[in-house]
């Protein structure tokens, strides 16, 4: 789960990381009021959960409260990469003398958190990592020990941070580590961490991603979820414990297991079709869950055919068949359906579906071919 900049920075502040004065606003009026309170120049920043906000014109500098109001009006009317801007952050503007990058994420291969820093912070940090990898410092953190002070000093030294900032920098690094651990983050990033003209360190921008599997430990953070970034069908799917992602194609897919779901999409594409969705009903799905899944697939008007590919292990094919029948009785779709059931109780499942006018298939390749043909009206 991704957090907005303003949410991330509020959390940073709790762990002692200095952030600019500012507040979030949902209207231009509020933005003006905040700018008045702050006095001086302010930065108006779109709060959307995608990168490239600045390049899209979603971050603007305001000289006075009137300008803050005007810019907030403009930005709140924007869509950035398809996401509507619902809120803007109004921060006091900083006089920047240097931009640093500081972040923590997990290194899957090393199985450890890694702290990354660079003296070349800012929006082009990934380009820096590609072209000048020596500009990026990394420190692997032993998860059982946590970040040690010497490691923070190592990082400060390797990005050539002047000595007078080391103490504050170490506090910020410790704060970021604490943030990372205590929120179960998979990403906590300050970019840029700036040195101001008056020689302060300040976390100007922040991003965090939290581990969905750990949200049970953080009900307060779970409430911060922004469902704007998800299609309504995806939100509905999550209620039923289904993993659903809407795509552009015409063949709806219902599969058990993420790997098999992706492979099924691949085979559809190999046969010249396009999947309309990724949908994993998970292991051991019962009839009710299957029915919900089918309703979600059929709510997409692009869908011209549906492919069921179920390999029964924990999941019982007869349960899936019952779910399909329940959903069919409810939705009464007019589009063709291809079904392939293999494994646990597959015969019983196919018997249950024998009167449902579905196209049956033996192999995955066969099923995908038939689904692509069905979507083109071959069986109509």
């Amino acid at each position: 789960m991704k957090l907005h900049e303003y949410q991330s920075k509020q959390i940073f502040a709790k762990y002692g990381i200095p952030i600019p004065k500012g507040r979030v606003a949902a209207t231009a009026d509020e933005a003006k009021q905040i700018a008045e309170e702050l006095g001086g120049r302010t930065v108006i920043k779109a709060q959307v959960l995608v990168g490239g906000r600045g390049k899209a014109g979603g971050i603007r500098l305001a000289k006075n409260p009137k300008e803050a109001e005007d810019l907030a009006t403009q930005i709140l009317a924007m869509e950035i990469k398809g996401l509507p801007v619902r809120k803007v952050l109004v921060d006091e503007a900083a006089n920047i003398s240097k931009e640093i990058y500081l972040g923590i994420t997990n290194d899957r291969a090393y199985k450890r958190p890694v702290m990354i820093a660079s003296a070349a912070g800012g929006v082009d940090i990934e380009e820096v990592a590609r072209t000048s990898p020596e500009m990026i410092a990394r420190i692997y953190i032993d998860p059982l020990l946590g970040l040690r002070d010497f490691q923070a000093r190592d990082i400060a030294a390797s990005i050539d941070l002047p000595h007078e900032y080391w103490r504050t920098f170490a506090e910020i690094a410790r704060g970021l580590w604490q943030t990372f651990v205590e929120t179960d983050a998979t990403l906590a990033e300050i970019n840029p961490l700036v040195i101001t003209n008056d020689n302060r360190l300040l976390a100007l921008d922040g991003k965090m991603t939290l581990d969905d599997n750990a949200l049970y430990r953080h009900p307060d953070l779970a409430d911060m979820r922004d469902i704007d970034i998800e299609a309504p069908a995806e939100v509905e799917a999550r209620k039923y414990g289904l993993s659903y992602i809407s795509l552009e194609g015409e063949i709806g897919c219902m599969v058990n297991g993420a790997g098999l779901a992706m492979a099924t999409m691949d085979v559809i594409k190999l046969n010249g079709g396009e999947p309309a969705n990724f949908l994993d009903i998970g292991g051991g799905a019962g009839a009710e869950k299957v029915a919900a899944a089918l309703r979600i697939i059929l709510s997409d008007p692009k869908v011209k055919a549906v492919l069921f590919n179920i390999f029964g292990g924990i999941t019982r094919c007869d349960e899936v068949a019952r779910g399909i029948l329940a959903a069919l009785a409810d939705v009464k779709p007019k589009i063709p359906m291809v079904v392939r059931l293999v494994g646990t109780n597959a015969e019983e499942g196919m018997r249950l579906l024998s009167d449902a006018h579905m196209i049956t298939a033996q192999t995955l390749l066969d099923a995908a071919e038939k689904a692509v043909k069905a979507a083109r009206g071959v069986y109509a």
């Binding site: 994420t105 990934e126 581990d211 790997g259 390749l365």
Partner: protein, 288 residues
């Protein structure tokens, strides 16, 4: 005949009285797996499955009484890290964690600890291991694979079954099938399992089933080109998956690679691996 597990493997089931644990313990016994003990705090002294499996309060007590050497974990995510630590402390040398949705920071601590102890972990969020005709530890359906000489290693669950089933339909047998799990941080990686297959005299070919995300397939490709003599056939799921909506730069900086299927296919092909376009094509490629 196999890696990791065989007919002599003595299995301890944690979470044996739960819905999933009990069901799969029954399936394992029916397959012939030597399940010697179950653990469920508070139910020590009871027996499950008509007196076939004794239940103990702690792993330590179960190991002392039965000599179990391999643990399989079905307990819920909140209790699973503790269950893994308990099995490692209890003296088990192989732990297979089926449980899904364990927080990744918990797993990093677990892996760090097990590495120091020298205990091997498979999973979490995995289907376990199957040595056809001898033993299955986990949830892979036993009837979809024949004994043979093909090693199978996979990050997926049901997709692995699909491949096993296709191999069986073609009359091809498997030495051991290992599902390493699909989580970002898992105990054993592709390379760990490939090393075992390379050293196993009864495995002469290997099927590797990968998917998008991370760089484990790229590392496998490096290992295959530098250390492996046995032929490998692969399939990578997610070739058509849309790139995720990314945020933040740290992931890209750390992994360098894109995590995309195309890059994994390229790395594997450069290492001499034949990559199937769809799962069932593996059957044709494995013989050539």
């Amino acid at each position: 005949m196999s890696i990791l597990i065989d007919k002599n493997t003595k299995v301890l089931v944690q979470g044996v009285t739960g819905h999933e644990g009990l069901f799969h313990t029954e399936q394992m016994l029916a397959y012939g797996t030597n399940v010697v003990a179950g653990v469920r705090p508070g139910k020590g002294g009871e027996w499950v499955l008509n007196g076939k499996v004794p239940v103990f309060d702690t792993v330590k007590m179960a190991v002392e009484a039965t000599g179990a050497n391999t643990g399989v974990i079905f307990v819920p995510a909140r209790a699973a890290p503790d269950a893994i630590y308990e099995e490692a402390e209890g003296g088990l040398s192989l732990i297979i964690a089926i449980t899904e949705m364990i927080p990744v920071q918990d797993m990093m601590c677990v892996c760090r600890y097990l590495d120091e102890k020298g205990v091997r972990l498979i999973g979490p969020n995995c289907p376990g291991a199957l040595t056809p005709g001898e033993s299955k530890v986990g949830i892979i359906p036993g009837n979809i694979a024949l004994p043979g000489n093909i090693g199978v290693v996979s990050r997926s669950g049901t997709l692995t079954y699909e491949v096993l089933y296709a191999l069986k339909q073609a009359g091809k047998g498997v030495s051991t099938c290992v599902g390493i799990g699909g989580d970002p941080v898992v105990g054993s990686t592709f390379v760990d399992i490939l090393e075992l297959f390379e050293a196993d005299p009864h495995t002469d070919r290997v099927v590797l089933i990968g998917e998008i995300g991370g760089t484990d397939e790229e590392r496998a490709a490096e290992f295959i080109s530098s250390k492996m003599t046995k032929p490998v056939v692969a399939f990578i799921a997610g070739q058509t998956a849309p790139p995720g909506k990314r945020m933040g730069h740290a992931g890209a900086i750390v992994e360098g690679g894109s995590g995309l299927a195309a890059d994994k296919v390229k790395a594997l092909e450069a290492a001499g691996v034949r990559v199937a376009r769809h799962p069932e094509e593996i059957v044709a490629l494995i013989d050539d």
